[in-house]
């Protein structure tokens, strides 16, 4: 039972889902502008309204996204971009590193900048499967250098914490 609709849905790719989601977000924000602009200038002329430019921008965003979906649907390959090439990236490794970074962000205010950076770097080296010696040298030297430069010399204040 291979209906044309199912085969069309089967060829639907996640990048087009992302584009559709971005376009939908733009439309939703456009429609909710009366609530998202406080107080909303109901009585202002259209050309004096604070909603004019954001709504125009959202319109460009939504239309651009929908056109791109249409274009990708009718092209064998989307245009090559000279921007960041992530084709070889392992998304699971990236997610693991991102989670480690998220924990690092949460840890800094409580554990302290030096300790959190050291732990994050050790965890990062472990995730990337570096040798133990390399990991230790990198984590200790880098975290200490960063702490001296940013906390001691540049006086970046990370708040009160349990450790340094």
């Amino acid at each position: 039972m291979n209906s044309p609709l199912l085969s069309r849905l089967g060829s639907w790719t996640w990048d087009r889902t992302l584009l559709l989601a971005l376009s939908c977000v733009a439309v939703c924000i456009w429609l909710l502008s009366t609530q998202l602009i406080q107080p909303y200038p109901h009585h202002a002329n259209w050309f004096e309204s604070a909603a004019l430019f954001p709504q125009l921008s959202l319109l460009i965003m939504a239309v651009g996204g929908l056109f791109e979906i249409y274009q990708r649907r009718h092209q064998s390959a989307s245009g090559e971009s000279e921007e960041l090439d992530s084709s070889a990236a392992n998304i699971h490794d990236a997610i693991a590193m991102l989670l480690a970074f998220g924990l690092y962000m949460l840890a800094v205010p409580f554990v302290g900048y030096l300790s959190s950076t050291l732990i994050f770097l050790l965890a990062g080296c472990w995730l990337l499967e570096f040798e133990r010696r390399t990991s230790l040298i990198l984590a200790i030297s880098l975290s200490f250098t960063m702490w001296v430069v940013f906390v001691k010399i540049l006086k970046v204040y990370f708040g009160q914490s349990w450790l340094i």
Partner: protein, 500 residues
């Protein structure tokens, strides 16, 4: 005479020790990131941007300009020695540089590349000095209608530079424009799209967005990608030859072709150095003096490509300084330094803060001398940086991105924004959606909205001023031609086929 005065003034602005140190550090960092695998000037400039907050405006700009120019030179090292161009703009250098290095002439190839880049850099800085002032006095006649049209023209050019990704680029530009409106509206004090989050009242800051999109996204890709394998046997042969330094002057035609295309294309928004180097390379093939086939070590290929590559820097700064419109992501972030210090780039900058304009001009000139000097002293150890594992660099960028975004406002809110945009940048890269237009949109959004509202307010909502003012009308026609070009071409093709 005015040019000489400007230059003298610029050199005296650079005389202060902190600015001179910033310039040298920027140049050195630029060369290093040009050589390091996977780290481009965009990432470095994004991560460095928060640290320019505490610096004098010219110091911050000199630091970032040093990175911008230094990376052009550094990229040639890996292109020639390991056949791995760090940037798309260095690909053409690789075509003839690597074969020369394989023939045992690595020193000649490197010297050719560095001297050609040096000539390109100096010529483009001089061009900036000569062209910027007349262009600024022309731009000073711009009213709100012309400002709107100039920004829209830049936006369309940016989109068109992405060729088949034009709609995606415009979508991201729209998102950038929208993000620029978040926060308290400066005209009416209404809160726009803040979702009740106190941090968003002052808007979405550019710094963490740039750190996230360029720094963290790149770092996440680096740590999750396999380590690239390359033939490192030629790294040991790195060095320079004095004869090679003088050789580019034997090929003035190739040099001029590179200079012309690099400077002209540098002015166009988002077109970038990659196109200028490839066009210059192919143009240099016509009427080449050296009999060596191109692609097998022809020195003219290196001269044209490197001249074009480095002459982009001056061209790209022309639009930033005279119109307040950045040409690419890097100049958009450099423009962020102006914005952070409350300096509005554009024609008024030439009268209000001439020391900044003169300082930028002098910086661009001095940076090229500093870079060349540093390369002469360090090219051998520098080449060894190509061995550095990009996964280690990715980890370092993440840690630097954290402290960079945090220190911009001593707030974890900035780090959260950077992390969110880092994820967004990674997802966009996976989906082949360009992110540079988002930054450009954010940078140009404020001016576009202010000019549009000013114009509509004065004309009671009439769009007539766009067509009654000649400059605005001319830009509108150009925009319409650019947008309708594919349709016109398709129509012309159909008519031609019908006639056959």
């Amino acid at each position: 005479m005015e040019f000489i005065d400007a230059l003298t003034g610029g050199f005296s602005s650079l005389g202060s020790l902190p600015i001179a140190i910033a310039l040298v550090i920027g140049a050195a960092l630029g060369i290093v990131v040009g050589v390091l695998p996977g780290v481009g000037p965009g990432v470095t400039i994004a991560v460095l941007l928060p640290f320019t907050y505490g610096m004098a405006p010219l110091g911050g700009i000199s630091l970032l300009l040093g990175v911008y120019c230094g990376a052009f030179y550094g990229g040639a090292v890996t292109s020639i020695l390991i056949r791995t161009p760090g940037e798309a703009s260095s690909i053409m250098t690789m075509f003839d540089g690597y074969p020369l290095a394989r023939q045992g002439q690595a020193q000649r190839a490197l010297s050719l590349a560095f001297m050609s880049a040096f000539v390109g850099g100096i010529a483009s800085a001089l061009l900036l000095g000569l062209v910027a002032r007349p262009m600024a006095s022309f731009a000073a006649k711009f009213g709100a209608a012309e400002n709107v049209m100039a920004i829209l023209l830049a936006a369309v050019c940016v989109g068109k530079a992405y060729r088949r990704q034009f709609p995606a680029a415009m979508m991201m530009m729209g998102l950038g424009f929208f993000l620029a409106t978040v926060g308290i509206d400066p005209n009416s004090n209404e809160q726009r799209y803040t979702f009740g989050i106190p941090g968003m009242l002052s808007g979405i800051p550019l710094v963490p967005v740039a750190v996230g999109l360029f720094g963290m996204a790149q770092a996440l890709v680096m740590v999750s990608s396999p380590v690239p394998q390359f033939d490192a046997s030629l790294i040991q042969t790195a060095g320079l030859s004095w004869r090679g330094f003088l050789e580019p002057f034997k090929y003035p035609k190739a040099m001029l072709k590179g200079l012309f295309l690099g400077s002209a294309i540098g002015v166009l928004p988002a077109v970038g150095a990659a196109l200028s180097t490839s066009l210059a390379y192919f143009w240099a093939q016509q009427g080449a003096k050296d009999p060596t086939p191109f692609g097998q070590g022809n020195p003219e290929g290196i001269v044209a490509a490197e001249c074009a590559n480095n002459s982009n820097s001056g061209g790209a700064m022309i639009t930033v300084l005279t119109l307040g419109i950045p040409g690419d992501a890097i100049t958009a972030i450099i423009m962020g330094v102006f914005v952070v210090h409350g300096i509005v780039p554009g024609p008024s900058l030439f009268t209000d803060r001439p020391e900044i304009i003169n300082g930028v001009l002098a910086s661009l000139l001095v940076i090229n001398f500093v870079i060349l000097g540093l390369l002469i002293l360090t090219v051998k150890p520098l080449a060894r940086l190509a061995y550095v594992n990009p996964r280690i660099l990715g980890l370092v960028i993440l840690v630097l991105g954290f402290v960079g975004s945090y220190s911009a406002a001593n707030s974890m809110y900035y780090v959260i924004i950077a992390a969110l945009f880092g994820v967004f940048g990674l997802v966009c890269a996976r989906a082949n959606i360009p992110t540079i237009p988002l930054i450009l949109g954010m940078v140009m959004g404020d001016t576009l909205e202010a000019s549009l509202r000013q114009l509509l307010g004065r004309s009671d909502g009439s769009l007539e001023p766009f067509v009654t003012r000649p400059m605005s009308l001319a830009m509108l026609i150009v925009i319409l031609i650019i947008l309708s070009w594919p349709l016109l071409m398709a129509l012309a093709k159909r008519l031609k086929n019908r006639n056959i």
